[in-house]
């Protein structure tokens, strides 16, 4: 699943033009500072396409339903553990001290993902934290090969909105693009995905993005 495996690099304008004309350019890559090994942050439109794949487009859904649909798509079991403070107060303190709100644990061998969040989080933060961790699973961040962690080519930032992606191991993901290489960007994108999911789940068929899929001309 390597991304930088191309033999021939073409100027970005040729590849973009070919895409508009529908010409498939397999085996080619775009030269430095262009797409393929780089991509933009997730847009609400791209998230809407993900919802179609999960069969949630135009429907109201809760974070639990999103989690179930995502787990079914990825072929893994996702467990969400909201730990009451009265049981394990040290979890809240440990997470708060480390500057985090929740944790995602993934076991490739058993196909299990566990999301752990403290029950004392404010309601909005709790919902968004769960969706944030689910966003990492949707993006395929859990599949990133360990040596790829923070690799980032500063030249890629010359083109403002394009960011380098990362190599990933075996496994399924929902996102069409590869996970981003930079950890901060991955966190930001997970926040965006959480925000889009919360709004889409509340608006259902009233979401303008859902309607855009029926109004293309």
């Amino acid at each position: 699943m390597a991304i930088d495996s191309s033999r021939i690099r073409l100027p970005g304008i040729i590849v973009k033009g070919a895409r508009v004309l529908g010409i498939p350019l397999r085996g080619f890559n775009i030269s430095r500072r262009s797409a393929s090994a780089a991509r933009t942050l997730l847009t609400p439109e791209q998230f809407q396409e993900e919802l179609v794949i999960l069969d949630l487009s135009g429907k109201r859904f809760s974070p639990e339903e999103y989690s179930e649909a995502l787990g079914n798509h990825l072929g893994i079991s996702i467990a969400i553990h909201v730990i009451p403070d009265a049981w394990y107060p040290e979890i809240s303190r440990r997470l708060a001290s480390s500057g985090r709100l929740g944790e995602l644990r993934y076991s490739e061998a058993s196909g299990l993902a566990a999301i752990i969040v403290p029950g004392s989080l404010p309601p909005l933060v709790l919902a968004l934290t769960v969706l944030h961790e689910l966003g990492h699973l949707a993006a395929g961040d859990h599949l990133i090969e360990s040596d790829e962690g923070r690799r980032e080519d500063p030249l890629e930032h010359a083109e403002e909105t394009m960011f380098t992606t990362s190599r990933i191991g075996r496994g399924k993901r929902l996102s069409r693009g590869f996970p981003l290489a930079d950890e901060d960007l991955r966190e930001h994108e997970a926040n965006l995905r959480a925000s889009y999911a919360l709004v889409a789940g509340c608006l259902g068929s009233e979401s303008p993005y859902a309607h855009d899929m029926y109004n293309v001309l």
Binding site: L124, V130, S195, H211, Y214
Partner: protein, 462 residues
């Protein structure tokens, strides 16, 4: 004027009339990128048909060139429709594919190849036509086999992609989550693209008739086919025009929603999580005790649950704003004011403010969910700003709710804010005295409970 020139003149006239209509459409509020594109395409078609009708062609190659040029507007419009359905147009022209294409990647790929294969077919037909020329503009004359090959090379892909687009529009219209107006719109576009597919089919039959049918009956069939082509062209244009006049405006504007998703929601989450971290790690001095006294006083006064929540959120905010540590340095009066102003904008859209909600407790759907409107932070932000960020403004005599006074008394007692300032600001209001009494009663109660608890422990130890 030959029969072919007559047919081109009719089609040119239809295209010109449709162009005028589409120009009116794009000058109105119902303008879309597709409408603009179709208007230019119709102008091109009218010019092509008009030129072909006006000129007298002296050779077969010239006739082939004329026939090729008149096909270009159709190739362009079918390509645009397929690319729009596949979501392959540049993002500013429309980034999303239609729902059936998003669900089926293979369909999206096939639709995305439309411009490539249509232009390729057009190019191949041009080579065939120019290498083996044929009387393309002699409508009723018998044609050689190469004319049939020339015509089919263009018409088969054109018919295939038009029919595919028509089917995709029908699938889109059938979706139960789509609004009624959008369903009708997609059905209209389906009718339009189906007419294009029928025109392509008619053209292939036309070529076959010219090749295989004998002189006696050929003219009658070809005249019928020409009339049918004209009717289909009119119906196609009417269907597209009808579809484009059906405008759908969602209840929530995309711009505001984008601002909400990438601005307010993330800012609110950051704000609340920073507050939670500061309180959980005990970095904000006195807030736990002050919160306890406020909750007790609210209980003594019989305040509602939502008012108690507002009071507790406010006391936490005041504590965090008055104790800027490394962790909480981003919660300043300035950032609080920015969030409050952003929230004010969101609250002006009643649909958005009431529709976006989240559960108050995980896994339980029994409780009423919180909305942007009902969440305590909005009132808490305002109250905290009034208590902390006053900039020596004159005394505000507006009455405040009891929970606000309770927070003021508690924050002053915990030395989070200046007690003298609170006395000047709120001391004249009767609720302030009620809050003072309730707060002190709660404090005494708490102290006596603590003493009782200590006594019980001593007794137990004995």
């Amino acid at each position: 004027m030959s029969a072919a020139q007559h047919q081109q003149l009719v089609l040119g006239g239809v295209s010109l009339a449709a162009f005028v209509f589409f120009v009116c459409l794009i000058l109105s509020s119902r303008r879309t990128w597709f409408g603009i594109f179709v208007a230019f395409d119709l102008l091109l078609a009218a010019l092509m048909f008009g030129t072909v009708a006006a000129l007298d062609f002296s050779g077969w190659r010239a006739e082939i060139v004329a026939a090729l040029l008149t096909e270009l507007p159709v190739v362009f419009v079918v390509s645009w429709v397929c690319l729009a359905q596949a979501g392959r147009l540049p993002s500013r022209l429309g980034a999303l594919p239609v729902e059936p294409a998003a669900r089926r990647p293979w369909l999206r790929t096939v639709l995305g190849t439309a411009p490539l294969f249509l232009l390729l077919a057009w190019g191949v037909a041009a080579i065939i036509g120019l290498v083996w020329p044929s009387p393309a503009m002699h409508a009723y004359a018998p044609a050689p086999p190469q004319f049939f090959l020339f015509k089919w090379t263009i018409m088969v892909p054109e018919g295939f992609y038009s029919a595919l687009a028509a089917v995709v529009f029908v699938m889109t219209a059938r979706s139960p989550t789509s609004a009624l107006r959008l369903r009708i719109k997609n059905l209209a576009f389906s009718a339009g693209t189906f007419c294009l597919a029928l025109i392509a089919l008619g053209s292939t039959v036309f070529a076959g008739v010219r090749l295989w049918v004998s002189d006696g009956s050929r003219r009658g069939i070809l005249e019928t086919l020409n009339t049918m082509e004209t009717c289909l062209a009119i119906m196609c244009l009417l269907a597209f025009a009808f579809g484009l006049t059906l405008r759908y405006t969602p209840a929530i504007a995309g711009t505001l929603l984008r601002q909400f998703q990438t601005g307010w929601l993330l800012a609110q989450e950051r704000f609340e999580s920073l507050k939670w971290r500061a309180v959980t790690t005990g970095r904000v001095r006195g807030v736990i005790r002050a919160s306890h006294h406020v909750a007790e006083a609210a209980n003594l006064q019989g305040l509602s649950g939502s008012d108690t929540e507002k009071a507790l959120a406010t006391i936490q905010l005041v504590a965090v704003m008055q104790n800027p540590s490394t962790e909480t340095e981003r919660i300043t009066p300035e950032t609080t004011r920015e969030l409050y102003e952003l929230q004010e904008q969101i609250l002006r859209d009643d649909t958005l403010a009431t529709k976006i909600s989240w559960a108050t407790s995980w896994g339980s759907h029994a409780d009423e969910p919180q909305t942007v409107k009902s969440a305590p932070l909005h009132d808490a932000l305002k109250a905290a700003l009034e208590l902390v960020d006053y900039h020596d403004e004159p005394v505000d005599v507006r009455a405040r709710p009891l929970w606000h006074h309770l927070v003021a008394v508690s924050a002053a007692d915990a030395r989070l804010i200046d007690p003298a300032r609170i006395r000047t600001q709120l001391g004249r209001q009767p609720e302030h005295h009620v809050a003072l009494e309730a707060y002190h009663a709660a404090k005494s109660l708490s102290r006596s409970l603590t003493l009782d608890d200590q006594q019980r422990r001593v007794d137990h130890d004995r």
